[in-house]
């Protein structure tokens, strides 16, 4: 973990993104340097929010430009640098959870190497304790999202990339889970990039807002 490499706080955490991702519908063309630890990117569906997160995670092979995180260069297409996803160590939580269908909840949570007690306590804080031995297909959408969140948190991420992580949760549960994620992020010094079309989610998690429209990103005056 190099939380130190990413200077937290007012000076920003060192994420600098200048990428272009050619897509079918629109080109994503972003030059972005967030300042707060917890950032939300809002925008209508189809604006490229998920693609931006995937590019940060190292999952968009067609991404061009530069991405740096602290002192580390994740992508520099001019220099031929493209750090693979497993070295970037981002906690990516995709919208549809993508729990491994052949593994139980316990095995999903422990996938990145967390020990049994870590798994148990994570399950408890996500209100999943009784479900640990089930397979994903016996879970509701909200339960799946919580497992996906827990799995990412247990992988010791250097930054959390959350893609509509609460879409299947009802309001009261959203607040509780969001509070839990904030606590985790604060305790471990992990920055968060949240992507959502829901202002309420942004309020729950983020200190700074950006708006992505038609592939380009701009600061939102309504920053919290």
């Amino acid at each position: 973990m190099d939380a130190e490499g990413s200077t937290m706080g007012a000076g920003g955490w060192g994420l600098h993104v200048q990428v272009r991702v050619p897509l079918d519908a629109i080109d994503l063309d972003v030059d972005w340097r967030p300042e707060s630890d917890h950032v939300a990117i809002l925008g209508p569906s189809g604006s490229g929010k998920s693609t931006l997160l995937r590019a940060l995670a190292g999952l968009e092979p067609s991404a061009e430009g530069r991405v740096s995180f602290g002192d580390e260069v994740w992508l520099d297409s001019d220099a031929g640098v493209n750090m693979p996803a497993w070295e970037r160590r981002v906690g990516w939580v995709p919208q549809d959870a993508l729990l491994f269908p052949h593994l139980s909840l316990r095995e999903n949570l422990a996938y990145a190497g967390a020990g049994p007690s870590e798994v148990e306590s994570m399950a408890e804080s996500l209100f999943l304790s009784g479900l640990l031995d089930r397979r994903p297909r016996f879970l509701s959408g909200g339960e799946r999202q919580r497992v996906a969140l827990g799995r990412a948190l247990l992988s010791a991420p250097r930054v959390l990339l959350l893609d509509e992580p609460f879409s299947a949760l009802d309001r009261p549960l959203r607040s509780e889970i969001a509070a839990m994620v904030r606590t985790f992020a604060r305790d471990s010094g992990t920055p968060i990039v949240l992507v959502s079309h829901d202002e309420h989610d942004a309020e729950l998690l983020a200190d700074e807002r950006w708006v992505l429209v038609a592939g380009s990103l701009s600061a939102d005056g309504a920053s919290a």
Partner: protein, 512 residues
């Protein structure tokens, strides 16, 4: 052979004499009354005659105006075809056993049976073989490790066995015998040096320049292969058929036969020369040996192909690379190329004459005529289904599962092992079952690459085929047919189940 008209030489062809005015497909006899149908003689004849008979028939056509249409095949396959209603007017058998067999069952008119011409058994070795045996006694020499004969029900195979028996060498030689389906098959193996020698007809040996004629089986001790002709009982052209048989014993035809290396018909048939009763027929084959062998071959093929099939299936589903469509085409080719052709290509690549085949033989893994050969043939022919099924599975496994795994810090190789492979497992098993089923049914490539050797390469399909030309194989045939159908259905059921499991697993993450 010398005649240009006979340049084409594949077995099992039907062709018209050039001037023939009418096409008449087998089994498609016109429904008109006989007097309205154009007169065409359909002659079913032993395949060793396929170069010379069209020449004789052209002379006959010039003399009579009646065209002849031929179907050439092993005598042992033609005789049952006549009983099953092949629209033949004349049957020319390469030995007496099959002619009498047909006569007893009412297939031919006994009074019309007559000798047509004769042949001679010879021993051939691959061209350039050092120290070829000079006389029949030296066949027992141990350096002749493989001796090719035609199949045990094929007249040439039976004559060869009779010759070896009269020498007293059969017991010694039998373990070294490899059986081709036909004389030409046996000859091909000698020509490719897959066999160290073979017993074939003189006329076939003369036509093949990749072999050397070592010696002939001459004299009273050995059978003279005699071709018999007869008119079938269901002919509608009896007079023309009789006339054609007469023509073949005339001076003009005899000269044409002689020009191709065939001998005079002689006085008649000496039954002592050829095995003549069914008790001389080979013992009935053991159907369970074939079933066991089929299972062994199919299982080994599936195991042997597992890793390459998974690798290729994954590669084709997930990667773009230069020459991908070419690779895909090559892998899929055995699905559309006739299996016999696949077998031929495999024999060319893996036979002893090739560099690779020589190397394999040198390290103790000879391919032709071995269980390994049968396995390989079954694998290659089933491989397209194997790869296609696995490719389809990797297409359906959402690759974002792999991406999630990467972001959780697990690199590609362990992700493949922990995520992709287990998710694809039911589909991989389904592909294996499909390849297994195809391997069970494999015939064409196997018979060419591995021959038809009981206990070694005679799988269910080959055994059924052999039994079709055996006069006494009904019971065993049904055992095999039932076993084969059952095994195939069980395999398909397994495929169905596994495919369903795979689908359900893929639906798992799409909510309930």
């Amino acid at each position: 052979m010398a005649h240009p008209a006979s340049a084409e030489g594949m077995p099992r062809t039907s062709r018209d004499v050039p001037a023939a005015p009418a096409e008449l497909g087998r089994g498609q006899r016109p429904a008109q009354p006989p007097e309205q149908s154009p007169e065409v003689l359909v002659v079913l004849a032993a395949s060793s005659l396929q170069d010379v008979l069209p020449v004789v028939a052209r002379a006959w056509y010039a003399a009579s105006g009646v065209p002849v249409r031929f179907s050439f095949d092993a005598t042992s396959r033609l005789a049952p075809q006549i009983l099953r209603g092949a629209p033949a007017d004349v049957f020319i058998s390469a030995d007496e056993v099959w002619m009498r067999w047909l006569e007893e069952r009412g297939g031919v008119d006994g009074a019309s049976i007559r000798p047509v011409t004769t042949n001679q058994l010879v021993f051939v070795v691959p061209r350039g073989a050092s120290d070829p045996p000079g006389d029949p006694r030296s066949i027992a020499r141990s350096d002749l490790a493989r001796i090719a004969l035609a199949g045990e029900n094929v007249p040439a195979g039976r004559y060869a066995r009779a010759a070896l028996e009269s020498l007293g060498s059969w017991i010694t030689v039998e373990p070294r015998v490899v059986r081709g389906g036909s004389v030409r098959g046996a000859l091909e193996w000698v020509a490719r040096a897959e066999a160290d020698g073979g017993i074939v007809y003189r006329t076939d040996a003369l036509a093949e320049d990749r072999v050397t004629l070592a010696f002939a089986f001459e004299g009273e001790d050995y059978p003279t292969p005699t071709y018999l002709g007869a008119v079938t009982t269901r002919t509608e052209h009896r007079e023309a058929a009789e006339a054609f048989l007469d023509f073949m014993s005339g001076a003009e035809a005899v000269a044409l036969f002689a020009a191709s290396g065939f001998g005079p018909a002689g006085e008649g048939v000496t039954t002592a020369q050829a095995p003549s009763s069914e008790s001389d027929m080979p013992p009935p084959l053991d159907p369970w040996s074939a079933v066991r062998l089929s299972l062994i071959v199919a299982f080994s093929a599936v195991l042997l192909g597992l890793v390459p099939a998974v690798a290729l299936g994954w590669l084709l589903a997930r990667r773009d690379f230069l020459g991908k469509s070419f690779v895909s085409m090559i892998v899929m080719a055995p699905l559309v190329v006739p299996p016999v052709v696949t077998g031929f290509l495999l024999l060319s690549v893996l036979g002893r004459e090739s560099a690779l085949g020589g190397l394999l033989a040198a390290v103790g893994l000879p391919i032709p005529f071995t269980l390994l050969g049968a396995t390989l043939a079954a694998l290659v022919v089933g491989f397209p289904l194997y790869v296609m099924a696995i490719r389809a599975v990797f297409d359906t496994v959402d690759r974002r599962f792999e991406e999630v795994s990467w972001t959780l810090g697990v690199p590609k190789a362990p992700t493949f092992r922990r995520i992709s492979l287990p998710l694809a497992l039911p589909g991989i098993a389904a592909g294996a079952v499909l390849a297994f089923a195809r391997a069970l049914g494999e015939f064409g490539a196997t018979v060419v690459l591995a021959g038809n050797m009981e206990g070694d390469t005679r799988t269910i399909a080959l055994a059924v085929y052999s039994l079709l030309e055996s006069p006494s194989g009904q019971g065993a045939t049904w055992t095999l047919v039932i076993a084969s159908v059952m095994l195939s259905l069980v395999a398909l059921l397994g495929f169905e189940r596994l495919s369903r499991w795979q689908r359900r697993r893929m639906e798992d993450h799409h909510g309930r």
